[in-house]
């Protein structure tokens, strides 16, 4: 059920019921009032007759007893004056005996010839005066009054229903516009909806919707960038492998060997990128948290240096090898390996890689420092982005992104700094294992 229909039906039914009740009440009230005032007039006419009779000398009608003084018939009203003994003295409508026949004082209804009459009888010391009103006249008058009241009433009711419909439609117009805009939108359109001219009630809704759209847009862009980067990182070594293999097929001797070597190097690079991508994907899927046997720092560092053949280059300064870190030893070794590889690739060749580890306020702090050019802060912020390689063709651009993801997975953090004293400093904070 549409909002408009619901509003119109609810308000319309309420309006109809209220107007109906008011109308019924009014008409009932009107009828009573009408009846009462006509009754009063009937009684007054009886008193008027009595008053007139008092002014006329008694013998004026007592002595002259001939024909009964009869007033010519009046349509719808009747009157009779009779003595207390029941003798008719004067009156109209002699045939209306059963209406005008003497009765007790007060109001009453009588019936004659299928027609109802309203009768009032006034009794004073020597007379009985009965006046009667035909109900048909009263009813037709009442009908006319009712009708006169009903038409404006009907007009007002119809008018308010129309006004209701129009008002609801107009009030919901911004919603209707919004609906049209949404229907016409392209499925892939993630642009924000305009909020201008929107009523205050749905403004928060659209604002919320727009911020959701913006988030989706950003997420899609990030996803798209990641896919592009992944495609680039996987396809580039694949291209190298393929072209070198094709070259190798066509040449021989030293050139053949060289092409095969290049192809092999491409395969190694491809494998490494794939492994790192898979590692990142696994971290995104949040697995590997179960086997939480705390890692001994010395053991992980030893493994990382062995894998990168960097025993000669790494200089350990103040490393507490007995520190225990609340993450699996394999993952800690992976993180350290990536940091050492990063330093190997981007650090000044021939300079040592300094590694330090100490107990900090909030966990274990591992620092890896290498020599090189000072990196501006803007570039520093990008270094942990996936596939960010700067101008360095070596490496996959995933190393620092992996370390950052690993650190965050286990409640740690990765921060980078660059100054003239320490051209490149990676600070890895990891939670200490309590046992």
């Amino acid at each position: 059920m549409s909002l408009r229909l619901r509003l119109v039906v609810t308000l319309g039914v309420t309006l109809l019921a209220l107007w109906g009740i008011t109308a019924a009440w009014l008409i009932r009230d009107l009828s009573t009032q009408f009846e009462q005032s006509l009754d009063q007039r009937l009684a007054q006419s009886a008193r008027m007759v009595a008053g007139l009779m008092d002014r006329v000398p008694v013998d004026a009608w007592r002595g002259d007893t001939g024909a009964l003084p009869v007033i010519p018939d009046l349509e719808g009203v009747a009157c009779r004056v009779s003595s207390l003994r029941g003798q008719v003295v004067a009156g109209t409508h002699p045939e209306l005996n059963d209406v005008l026949a003497a009765s007790a004082e007060g109001y009453g209804y009588r019936r004659h010839d299928g027609q109802r009459w309203r009768v009032y009888t006034l009794i004073d010391e020597n007379r009985r005066i009965t006046v009667a009103d035909r109900m048909r006249e009263r009813e037709s008058l009442l009908t006319q009054v009712r009708r006169a009241a009903f038409y404006p009433f009907l007009l007002a009711l119809t008018g308010s229903l129309v006004a209701l419909w129009w008002g609801v439609t107009r009030g919901l117009a911004p919603l209707a516009r919004l609906q049209r805009r949404l229907v016409q939108r392209d499925h892939d359109d993630l642009s924000a909806l305009p909020t201008r001219g929107l009523p205050g009630e749905i403004r928060p809704l659209i604002d919320g919707f727009n911020s959701l759209l913006a988030r989706t847009r950003r997420m899609l862009e990030r996803e798209q960038r990641f896919t592009d980067d992944a495609a680039h990182e996987l396809r580039t070594p694949l291209t190298a492998v393929r072209t070198h293999l094709q070259v190798a097929r066509r040449v021989d001797g030293e050139r053949h060997r060289e092409a095969m070597q290049q192809a092999e190097a491409g395969v190694v690079r491809l494998t490494r990128t794939l492994e790192q991508l898979l590692l990142l994907a696994r971290m995104d899927n949040d697995v590997g948290r179960g086997d939480l046997e705390p890692a001994r720092l010395g053991e992980a560092l030893e493994a990382a240096m062995a894998e990168t053949h960097s025993h000669d280059r790494c200089r350990l300064a103040g490393v507490d090898a007995s520190l225990r870190i609340a993450m699996p030893v394999t993952l800690l070794a992976t993180a350290l390996r990536n940091l050492i590889e990063n330093a190997q690739h981007h650090g000044e060749p021939g300079h040592p890689i300094e590694i330090g580890a100490r107990r900090g306020d909030s966990g274990v702090v591992i620092e890896v420092i290498n020599q090189g050019d000072v990196i501006p802060p803007t570039r520093l912020a990008n270094l942990t982005d996936r596939f960010y390689r700067g101008n360095h063709p070596r490496g996959s651009g995933l190393g620092l992104a992996i370390v950052k993801a690993l650190a965050e997975r286990f409640g740690g953090a990765l921060t980078l700094a660059s100054s003239t004293e320490t051209p490149f400093l990676v600070r890895l904070r990891l939670p200490q294992a309590h046992d």
């Binding site: 094709q246 070259v247 290049q262």
Partner: protein
């Protein structure tokens, strides 16, 4: 013919360079947009193979800039993005052709040959000049339907002259099509190749315009009888 390869990945560049070298292209490799811009101004390349993603920006931006400047050199774009929209964008940005990595070396060569053919307005695979026919794909030369044995640089020289369609080429322009930046060129090497071509295809095949350069001449007079 001389190709400018703009590719930042050394391994890929080495592969393409070696592969195109087998098809007798002279390839110069640069790794950045800036170097590509400079190289194109220094040497008259016949083709450009342009990677889309380079360390100092988008390859497409360079291409668009070239097209705005009126540089009509045929460009083949290389990219790792295979979305249709991205290919359309590249072609509309001024690329003459588009290849998605990883590609087949034969396909790259064939596409570059096709680009050269299209630029020359050449209908078939063979380049004809009088009684002479040159096949740029399998690098064979025929005179009256009879194969003529030429060495690599002679073939490259002949191809440059045929493709110039009678236009004058200076000695430097010819050398650009025979030698890469790193090749050591002896001072009279070009003259040796011209001499050899005249000997094998007839004296008139190369006309010398003193002080200006060389152009393709007539091959009607009997060559080797």
């Amino acid at each position: 013919m001389r190709v400018l390869l703009v590719e930042d990945d050394a391994a890929v560049a080495a592969g393409i360079e070696a592969g195109l070298g087998l098809s007798e292209f002279i390839v110069d490799t640069v790794g950045t947009l800036a170097a590509a811009r400079a190289a194109r101004q220094a040497i008259g390349y016949d083709l450009v193979v342009l990677d889309r993603r380079l360390p100092d920006g988008e390859g497409l931006a360079l291409l668009q800039a070239w097209r705005r400047e009126g540089v009509a050199i045929p460009v083949l774009m290389l990219t790792a993005r295979d979305a249709v929209a991205s290919r359309v964008e590249g072609l509309q940005g001024g690329a003459d052709d588009y290849l998605v990595k990883p590609f087949d070396l034969d396909e790259l060569t064939a596409r570059l040959q096709a680009l050269l053919r299209r630029t020359a307005g050449q209908a078939g695979r063979l380049l004809h000049h009088g009684r002479l026919a040159f096949d740029p794909v399998d690098r064979s030369v025929m005179l009256d339907g009879v194969p003529v044995a030429l060495i690599r640089r002679e073939r490259m020289l002949l191809e440059a002259l045929i493709r110039a369609r009678g236009r004058l080429l200076s000695a430097d322009q010819l050398k650009d099509r025979l030698y890469g930046i790193d090749d050591e060129v002896e001072s009279n090497a070009l003259n040796v190749h011209i001499y050899q071509l005249r000997r094998k295809l007839g004296r008139g095949v190369i006309e010398t315009v003193r002080g200006v350069g060389y152009r393709l001449g007539s091959v009607d007079e009997a060559a080797h009888a």
